[in-house]
Amino acid sequence: MNAPMTSFNKPWITSPDGFRVPYEVFTDQSYYDQEQEKIFRGEAWSFVGLEAELPNKGDFKATAIGDTPVIVTRDQEGRIHVFKNRCMHRGAFLVRESRGNAKSFDCVYHQWSFDLTGALRGVPMRRGVRGEGGMPAAFDMANFHLDELRVANLNGVIFATFSETVEPIEDYLGEEIVATVKRIFNRPIRILGDQRQYVHGNWKLYAENTRDPYHGSLLHLFHNTFGLYRATQTGFSHMDASKRHSLLKVRAAAAPTSEAEDKEVYKDVRSYNTEFRLQDPSILAGRQEFDDGSTLIINAIFPNLLLQQIANTLAVRQSVTYAPDAFEIVWTLFGYEDDDEEMQLIRMKQSNLIGPAGLISMEDGEAVEIVHEAVVRDGKKTSVLAMGGGYAESSEHMITEAPIIGFWQNYARYLGLTSDAAK
């Protein structure tokens, strides 16, 4: 599988007309294999779940970091652990359900039993049966602790890493992203449920999509169609110092822009139509929840998480990879424990806007697939990222592709690609 990376001198160049990314990065198995080792199993913190998914001792969920299966669990002391979901004996899945509650993890194959801290506690027939068989004298159960990952818990958002050396989560995310996480996870949450979306394309096309403020009002036409969009709302496109993560934010305009101004901005757009009106506008009714008046936060956290606030929809989106041409987006929507009944209904109605059936987000899956299918035999050709100047700098507007360039510069750095872009 692991194709040798003999000539990794790839055409990653910042040309005068923009930053260019070769399409083979989406389709080539060797990139995929390198990503698993150097990003997902490397110097990065990956999202694995929310503490609220594991309210009780013994609760567990099965998930994956990249394509490595892991278990997230809460032990009898209430501590969160993350293990590889693989028995230390012969490699079978320890947990075969997606969720549950357990006193111990018992492999069904030979019933090796591990406690919730990952320690091996039982090996059937270890001392043999009637003096026959059994494990050798040198066998020591202490040597067969489950492969355990480092865990970080930021206000109930659980990250894990295979690395012993990656910086603490607060340093990894940077001040502004930490503040964003803390702002949304400011009090106990209530999980509303999951939505799962299988996409026939490369996971990095979605990493681009979620760092791309340029496409928002052009691909997603729900608001335009119903005469709701305000292109001229104020917003910004920030990155952390390392430029791995991005924070796109829109605030409700202090003074609503005019329809005339919107029409001018959108005069080249295929659909700007104000003849349609929602029959039931209650889908958009909501409350201002946050003091800063933000109506949209799209916070991409390298490598596998998106944290969003769109109106009153709050969600995490986790990317799980399967192959160069397949990944899954796991959407977990939530509100707060203290939501009143009306607020719960607001969140439920607004959930129509997002997810794989979302009126304003369903197109993202399609956007990934139409790129993936089109570039499959053009690996040496490149895309161009130039909107906003063609370099990775934060800006106080949203007419930019800079956060995508930040992602690729880091990607090149993680994979050790020879690239003047990574300088």
């Binding site: 449920g193 026939h200 729900f222 439920m348 109605k349 059936a357 197109e363 399609e366």
Partner: protein
């Protein structure tokens, strides 16, 4: 009028269906024999499927009661966890119309065909105003390259009422066993 015990979970449904079929003790509903009621319910479901599969989606909201209705597509995964999150969640006929206008005018997605197969139509309970009906569905999806796959399998849990002599959905819960959506979900199920 006797009321058959309302059952919602699939396990208790199986028990109810296999043991005493209370519905057979009942002779009529809304002046129509239970046998004809079964036939009318199946006809409603077949017309509903034809409406979607023939891409006559503008007609789709008319299958629902205009005064009060609810439509949702929710995964069995969320139902079994006791969680409310749906994939589509409409609480009025207006929201159904808005879905259709949005997919016709706003949303971007590849052309695909649906083919519904609906079976095992089981009237679970009957009260004066409404029927509770469970059925199984499978939706095949044909992509633009001509390939057909199973897109979603699950059950309908419907509350059906009579309006002006016609059966309408007061509530339609699509409980999808298929909890992983293949790329995107555009048209209703």
């Amino acid at each position: 009028m006797d009321t058959v015990a309302a059952v919602t979970t699939s396990q208790s449904v199986a028990t109810a269906a296999m043991q005493n079929d209370e519905l057979l003790k009942q002779s009529t509903w809304q002046g129509v024999s239970v046998m004809e009621t079964q036939w009318r319910v199946e006809r409603l479901l077949s017309r509903y499927a034809a409406c979607i599969d023939d891409d006559a989606l503008e007609q789709w909201p008319a299958f629902f009661a205009s005064d009060a209705c609810r439509y949702e597509i929710i995964t069995r995964e969320n139902v079994e966890r006791g969680m409310p999150l749906a994939l589509m969640f409409c609480t009025s006929q207006g929201m159904l119309f808005d879905r259709i206008v949005s997919l016709r005018e706003a949303n971007i997605y590849p052309q695909r065909w649906y083919r519904h197969v609906i079976s095992n139509v089981l009237i679970q309970s009957v009260d004066e105003d409404s029927l509770t009906v469970q059925s199984s569905y499978v939706v095949f999806q044909t992509r633009r390259n001509g390939q057909t796959d199973i897109f979603s399998a699950g059950k309908y849990l419907d509350r059906i009422v009579m309006r002006d002599g016609e059966l309408k959905f007061a509530e339609k819960r699509v409980i999808a066993d298929t909890h992983r959506v293949d790329t995107l979900l555009v048209a209703p199920i």
